[in-house]
Amino acid sequence: MSKQAWSNEPAQPGEMLAMPTAARQAAARPPRQWWEFGRALLYMSPALLLLLAFTYIPFLRSIWLSFFVTNPQGDTVRFNDVRYYTRILNLDGSGRTEYLRSILTTVYFSLLVVPLGIVFALALALLATLRVRAIAVFRTIFTSSIAISVASASVIWALIYSPNTRATQWLIDLLHLNANSLLQHPATALFAVAFMTTWTSLGFNFIVTLAGLQAIPHDIYESARIDGANNWALFRYITLPLLTPTLLFLILISTIQSFQAFTQFNVLIGNEGPANATDVFVFAIFTAFWKDNRYGFASAMSVVLFLILFVLTFIQYRLLDRRVHYQ
């Protein structure tokens, strides 16, 4: 976005000589420039102060705290070097890998949520392009889950998975599980949470995919059809390739979101799960932070999470830039 957006900007100081009157005047009168700066600063100050206070300073403080042992009030007690980081990443040679395993659990979780989400969204979006009169109603229904909070969805799915309602008993019988609920068996717990997560993100994934489908020019289909292409060929050689940027975008967004998932784990399970099967990294941070009050250690974990998400977000921005060039 940035290159285009900046094109109507005034010249930067270095380019001023090449600019006509207005810029030269500005250069001749520095006080006016400062006055303009002050006025702009005034307009930006509420947002600036709030974002400094609640985003930048806390972020820097997280990094600071991650190098210290803290007391239960959150004050730094003693410098700890990078020991928390080596502990998390098992670089200290202790062989305790529970945090690496927790990151791995998060990766598994994404590997379940992302493909499921894409497949369902694609199916729904293709259905939503059918030309029938009441299609708007169906589109609203397919979108509905974006209005449902993860907390509400978790409360509902907790009952779907509850042994008392017996709604998923057939699946437990089918799989011959030795557990009362899908959430209580190490082999199915993570999958159960992932399936529920797919449902909560269905509306969003659907709407993004539908927008991508609708952006494909219609005459491409018309001419391919005249050339004798059947429905499968249209989908395989036109829809899918032209939808690839949208799907890539969706894959990255879903991955980032699944790395940040917390609510459903806390409401549906509330602990590390059977045999730590659902101890995703964000939940492990919550445990260190909230249950154990180890603020320094939890901060180090949150910095590790930041780095993982930073890489993912960076890839996403690069991808978005490319997507703009396609069009």
């Binding site: 930006m44 930048y56 972020f59 709604a167």
Partner: protein
């Protein structure tokens, strides 16, 4: 499969084509309805449980001859705080929405319309907040809010969210589409920047403001992690914390639990039906934030 299936195949007679088209339409509606039913299944399940009365072993389908709607009334008596939770959520979501509109509009106006030194730096300071996930700020924020004595208070739930890099970015992009000549003409006519913002730019930017408002309201209403940390006493809970706490309370009465969940979902579901376009625009743009 894709978008062009309702055309009758060529070479068919007029009447069979019409019957064929009719059958195809019926089939399409059948498939769409079935899929819609599957998508809505969890919600229908919640409604079914809410209508079955205070039973400990609910069935999947309610007894349609005697649906018990009393749970929607009963839940307010059983959990007297429910009204308060709804009020809390409305106060917090409305205040955060209004606050973000104000702070974002002011900052976006400066970035999009004014010329001043180091503008790029400020732009990236705002944009940079999108790269910082809330997990990496929540511990110091929690400690700071606790130290301020803002636990169990509206300011603790509201103030940390009054500005957003996303809101500034969204409005800036929209403001840039409005010709700068308009600003220069207004200034020549003796209109100050504040008045230009209020009486010209904002009215012209209603679509973007609506998008930001709907998106922010929905997100704030659905917040879970932050209120979970900040709220200790039951009357300060927001709806999301309330319904999940309801769940873990000792007596689990399914019909009341589902009734409260459905009640709490209503405002955002109504928002979806009324403001679907804005919501969709906000969500697809907001996805940038990740």
């Amino acid at each position: 499969m894709s978008s062009l299936d309702t055309h009758a195949p060529p070479g068919m007679g007029q009447r069979p084509a019409r019957i064929g088209a009719l059958l195809q339409t019926v089939a399409l509606y059948a498939v769409l309805s079935l899929v819609a039913l599957l998508v809505l299944l969890p919600l229908l399940f919640a409604l079914s449980l809410a209508l079955q009365g205070p039973t400990l072993s609910p069935t999947l389908l309610p007894d349609f001859s005697r649906l018990d709607w009393s749970s929607f009334r009963e839940v307010f008596r059983e959990e007297p705080n429910l009204t308060r939770w709804i009020v809390n959520s409305f106060v917090v979501a409305l205040a955060v929405t209004l606050g973000q509109l104000v702070t974002s509009a002011l900052a976006a106006f400066a970035l999009a319309t004014m010329s001043f030194p180091a503008k790029v730096v400020f732009f990236f300071v705002f944009l940079g907040t999108l790269m910082i996930p809330w997990e990496s700020t929540i511990i110091p924020n929690y400690l700071a809010i606790t130290r301020l004595g803002w636990k169990d208070s509206y300011q603790g739930l509201i103030v940390p969210f009054l500005a957003s890099g996303f809101g500034i970015f969204l409005l800036r992009q929209y403001f840039l589409t409005i010709p700068r000549d308009l600003y220069e003409a207004a200034v020549l006519d003796g209109c100050g920047p504040a008045r230009y913002l209020w009486s010209i730019l904002l009215p012209l930017s209603r679509p973007a403001l609506a998008t930001l408002a709907v998106y922010t309201f929905l997100n704030t209403w659905n917040q879970y992690y932050w209120p979970l940390l900040i709220v200790d006493s039951p009357e300060w809970r927001t709806t999301q914390i309330g319904i999940t706490a309801f769940r873990s309370s000792e007596v689990t009465i399914y019909n009341l639990q589902m009734a409260s969940t459905i009640i709490v979902m209503l405002p955002t579901l109504i928002l979806l039906v009324l403001g679907q376009r804005q919501l969709v625009r906000g969500l697809t743009a907001g996805a940038l934030k990740g």
